[in-house]
Symmetry: C2
């Protein structure tokens, strides 16, 4: 297996660390230590890219780069492996091990994780679909999909899952949820909801879960999929006559960007259109004027009912 050296653009693609960050780490922490090609441009050894991937994962778990790069490689590896259900080292990872699945949903979780691990997509799809039919869409979304997402995200952070295994899971779950949405009758009732994510947020499951629950409540849902530019969110909201714009932020989305993005979009949207944000990405977010945040989906469903009660008056 030939593993070639990579340019800085390729490392950015593979690790998600920006070029600026890669260069400043090299200057500050002495890692990574890329060699140079004939043009004086950085080329990274595959082993160093592996370590960068690991560091990235641990950072999502709450560690900070200065510490991770200060300790030795062996200490780094020991951080990745242990305590799959242990305590998180920092408040950043709170709620990560929320799962702890009780009763039926917990057993299903274990089964699903095992199927992902075995890369058995057919059985995975079947298990998910069966669970959806047995529990009903509403309970499936809140009691099964939500903890499963946490569990898969957690498995990825701890290195138990590769990125492609998360993709595998996401794709099958997406198929099941979309199939369910397709069978729901198209409502034309208020509120009219516009669902999407901001650029750089490509996780779609949160959006689909919200669409399921809102549609079950009889709201009129239009989804734009992921990564809509803010300006186009405004255009779409006006074109659709939307009452509410709902955004989803995953745990992996860069925390520091959330507040400025929501503020900016709030400035773009007409005052009459509500702005809701949900997902683990808004967990540690303070109050923002004109923006409602819901970490859990049942809170958002309650907000929908409140909206209706208020609209009726």
């Amino acid at each position: 297996m030939n593993r070639p050296y990579m340019t800085i653009a390729a490392v950015e693609r593979e690790t998600g660390l920006s070029k600026d960050t890669l260069r400043v780490w090299e200057r500050r922490y002495g890692f990574p230590t890329p060699e140079r090609d004939g043009n004086g441009e950085r080329i990274y050894a595959p082993e160093q890219v592996d370590k960068l991937r690991l560091v990235r994962r641990l950072m999502d778990r709450g560690y900070r780069p200065g510490r991770l790069l200060g300790i030795g490689d062996e200490a780094l590896a020991s951080l990745a492996a242990p305590a799959p259900s242990g305590e998180a080292p920092s408040p950043a990872a709170k709620g990560a091990a929320r799962l702890a699945g009780a009763s039926e949903a917990g057993a299903l979780c274990q089964q699903v994780l095992e199927l992902v691990r075995r890369h058995d997509v057919a059985a995975l799809r079947h298990a998910l679909h069966q669970a959806m039919v047995r529990q009903g869409l509403g309970r499936f979304v809140t009691d099964t999909v939500a903890p499963l997402n946490s569990a898969v995200g957690n498995a990825w952070m701890s290195g138990a899952f590769q990125v492609f295994e998360e993709h595998l899971y996401t794709e099958q779950m997406q198929a099941v949820l979309r199939q369910a949405i397709a069978t729901l009758p198209a409502a034309d009732a208020r509120p009219r909801m516009l669902l999407t994510t901001v650029p750089d947020e490509q996780h779609i499951l949160g959006l689909l879960m919200a669409e399921c629950l809102f549609a079950l409540e009889g709201a009129s849902c239009v989804s734009l999929g992921t990564q809509t530019p803010l300006y186009d969110i405004r255009l779409a909201a006006e074109a659709q006559g939307a009452d509410v714009v709902a955004l989803s932020f995953s745990a992996a989305f860069p925390q520091r960007q959330v507040a400025p993005l929501l503020t900016q979009l709030r400035g773009l949207l007409p005052a009459g259109i509500a702005l809701w944000a949900g997902g683990s990405g808004v967990e540690r977010l303070g109050e923002l004027p004109g923006v409602k945040c819901y970490v859990r989906l049942d809170e958002a469903v309650q907000a929908l009912r409140d909206w209706r009660a208020q609209a009726a008056s």
Copy 2:
């Protein structure tokens, strides 16, 4: 409607032009001309961001930035509006106006475009689903979806569609195609195909179309969705025991990145796994060792049959 000034990061998000490009344009062409905030950082007026969006569209149409920024604003506007079915100014836009719809498919195209324009998602979904059922999945994909994608992409480039209208179309088409895929029996026959796109390529319709046709041929398809890191593509291909890795590149994907990406992935994959690339993004691509390129879907389907004939020997 309050339209605030934007930071360079926000402009990158909205226009897709990199920070480096924005800065070097300012230096070379004298546009844009951002003001500065209290920290000496660039802040862009909303009107300039509008112009940048327009320039970006025209560039995808084949124009080059030096010319576009050298001429006046009014000349720029006149380039965007006219010749909706006219000649393209450069070879880059060749094949864009391929549509020219004949017979039934052509009329359907017009109807669908009109529904998108009116933002009538329910009717759009219904029209697409009905066409799929009437024509059958295979003919629907090759004769209707393919020209529709071109037409929508074209409408976007000429400024007739906003980004959100393309998202609207994509989301409804995706729902129809996924619904069709879900009803196909899960095959376990060779070849085992792994479908995905590279990072930065978020267009999924090409992937879904390929999955439809390959699955109709009885191949065993596993999709990872969009934007899988190259290293994970390799891991997934090995884990799945894939015979073929199939990638989709849209017309909007930066041309210059395609060849290096394919070469790098070819280096990562074991020699026994074939690498196929498809979509309008590989139209102007030369030969690459160990990589097969198919601009049209029927070529890829033929390649699938050839693979089987060869495997049987």
